[in-house]
């Protein structure tokens, strides 16, 4: 089974970390990544940029593009995509295609990316 593990913390608190503290935290994460990569169990890892860089695309009667992160508590995170795009416009176009049902996607640029190990063996429920 493939599992997604999602990290949460207060952005204000993380933003108040000193550079040294931030580096120490990243170093810890890199240690964990190296360990699980060596075991062949690590998929892609991403650290997202702050929510100030976020854009939200919401579809209802009309498609809306909003500045800011996803902020509703009525809806739950169902999945995520990674796109490699040149511009925000390009990724918004992609996002518009995803929300053809009423719903919402949040676009967040990625600050740090580790591709993980190739050919993960885990079987997702409908995995190929």
């Amino acid at each position: 089974m493939l599992y997604a593990v999602i990290c949460y913390n207060s952005e204000a608190v993380v933003g108040a970390w000193s550079k040294e503290k931030d580096e120490a935290v990243m170093q810890h994460h890199q240690g964990v990544m190296a360990k699980f990569a060596a075991k062949g169990k690590l998929g892609p890892v991403a650290r997202l940029m702050p929510t100030t860089t976020a854009t939200t695309v919401r579809s209802g009667r009309e498609m809306m593009v909003l500045d800011g992160p996803f902020a509703e508590t009525k809806e739950q995170m169902l999945g995520f995509y990674l796109f490699d795009c040149e511009t925000l416009e390009e990724v918004i176009t992609a996002a518009r295609e995803l929300v053809h049902e009423p719903g919402c996607v949040e676009i967040r640029p990625v600050m740090y990316y580790h591709p993980g190990v190739p050919g993960l063996a885990g079987e997702a429920a409908s995995g190929q």
Binding site: G15, P50, T53, T55, D67, G68, L88
Partner: protein, 419 residues
């Protein structure tokens, strides 16, 4: 986690919101600060035992408010304080408070707190000192060190600024759209000043003071979290990030200035640049250009060039021309002249800056650039005069040393010619 660093981080990040809310309750800066201090003392006793509260800001506001109310009651009736348990028992109230904090008022609270520090009667350095003390929570000692003045002088400066501010009449009603926009732009200007004080120190041994830059970025991010859709605040954030991204390359091992064209671009902080690009992308979509966005766009042109010689100077010239129409100033024209020099040569650039001579006679960079242009035109004697003038106006040792390298070059060329 065994260390208690999280408490410090939680209190620092909750501070602007908590002090701002307490200011709204008590309408007095002194009381709000005292209440916050007291709440922090209680947090230091409670949190290590009970663990972090769900919402640290809500906890601190509630405990601070209870303390200040009791204090006021005690003063008026000389009653005994309620015991510690009642004062810090916030379990139920905290949830209600946290809900309210999500609402719009808290945004206006924090803006008001920042705005209070920007009173127009206060000189810029007092505004910055006050914001660092009240909003960022830096100690007087830390601020004094950052400004290179004695602690007691800084203490006095802050006390005076607080007195001035407390006499000012800042309305506590929710501001209207126009007033909010005015406050926002005043606060943005203060944050920009704070950053510049760190980016290019106005005095002292150190040319760059990173902690001031970092604090400015933290406040800019806070402002953007409150006003997520404002393109100028996006621009301000992008600008500060782009400028600060170059910090590791701006001085060499001997603390000498390295000009942008000579900087080792591998040292630039790529993460900050990427974040700035993301913010600029968002801002551009809104199609409301302003001075911060344009300046950020200029910095972005530099950041995009893999090598100095790849810089798109025509784009920079175009952006400065735009900035000249949005925010005309001799300093903007001076900066544009650098782009003109790269595109059309030193003679054109010199022609552009000569009319600025009286407006910028006391400005280090004017004489530095003028000297450089004259040197390129082989008018070495005039160049030397300009460089001498620049040195006499240099703000830091690094600035003076940088100009001296030009003078040395002129000296050597002079010698060569004689031989």
């Amino acid at each position: 986690m065994t260390d208690l660093g999280w408490i410090d981080a939680a209190m620092t990040s909750a501070r602007p919101q908590a002090v701002a809310a307490l200011l709204r309750y008590f309408r007095n800066l002194e009381t709000a600060e005292e209440a916050f201090q007291e709440a922090c003392l209680r947090a230091l006793q409670k949190w290590p035992v009970n663990g972090p509260p769900r919402d640290p800001a809500a906890w601190l506001i509630l405990v601070g408010r209870n303390f200040a109310l009791d204090e006021a009651r005690r003063r008026s009736k000389q009653q005994a304080l309620p015991d510690e348990e009642i004062l810090s028992d916030t379990d139920d109230a905290e949830t209600a408070m946290a809900d309210r904090l999500d609402s719009e008022d808290y945004r206006d609270d924090v803006l008001r707190l920042l705005f209070v520090c920007c009173h127009p009667d206060l000189p810029a350095n007092q505004q910055i000192a006050l914001a660092l003390r009240i909003v960022s929570g830096l100690s007087v000692q830390e601020i004094a060190r950052a400004f290179l003045v004695g602690e007691s002088a800084m203490e006095q400066r802050i006390t005076r600024a607080k007195r001035r501010v407390s006499q000012a009449d800042v309305p506590f009603e929710t501001p209207g759209a126009v007033e909010r926009a005015e406050r926002l732009s005043t606060v943005a200007a203060m944050i920009y000043l704070l950053f510049n004080e760190g980016y290019s120190a106005s005095g002292g041994e150190l040319h760059i003071r990173e902690p001031l830059c970092e604090e400015a970025i933290r406040l800019a991010r806070l402002l953007l979290r409150l006003f997520r859709g404002d393109p100028e605040i996006m621009g301000l954030n992008a600008l500060l990030l782009l400028q600060h991204a170059r910090a590791p390359a701006r001085l060499d091992a001997n603390q000498n200035i390295v000009l942008m064209e000579d900087q080792d671009r591998r040292l630039w902080r790529r993460e900050m640049i990427a974040e700035a690009f993301a913010l600029l992308d968002k801002a551009v979509r809104l199609q409301q250009p302003g001075p911060y966005q344009i300046q950020a766009a200029i910095a972005a042109v530099h950041a995009r060039a893999p090598r100095a010689e790849d810089t798109n100077w025509h784009e920079i010239d175009r952006l400065y021309a735009l900035l000249e129409t949005v925010q005309p100033s001799p300093v903007v024209t001076l900066n544009r002249a650098v782009a003109v020099m790269k595109c059309d040569g030193p003679a054109k650039a010199l022609e552009m800056i000569e009319p600025l001579a009286s407006a910028l006679s006391g400005y280090f960079h004017f004489h530095g650039l003028r000297g450089g242009l004259l040197m390129q035109l082989n008018r070495n004697d005039e160049a030397r005069v300009s460089f001498d003038k620049a040195i006499s106006l240099a703000n830091t040792a690094a600035e003076a040393a940088h100009i001296r390298t030009h003078l040395d070059k002129l000296m050597e060329e002079g010698k060569k010619r004689k031989h």
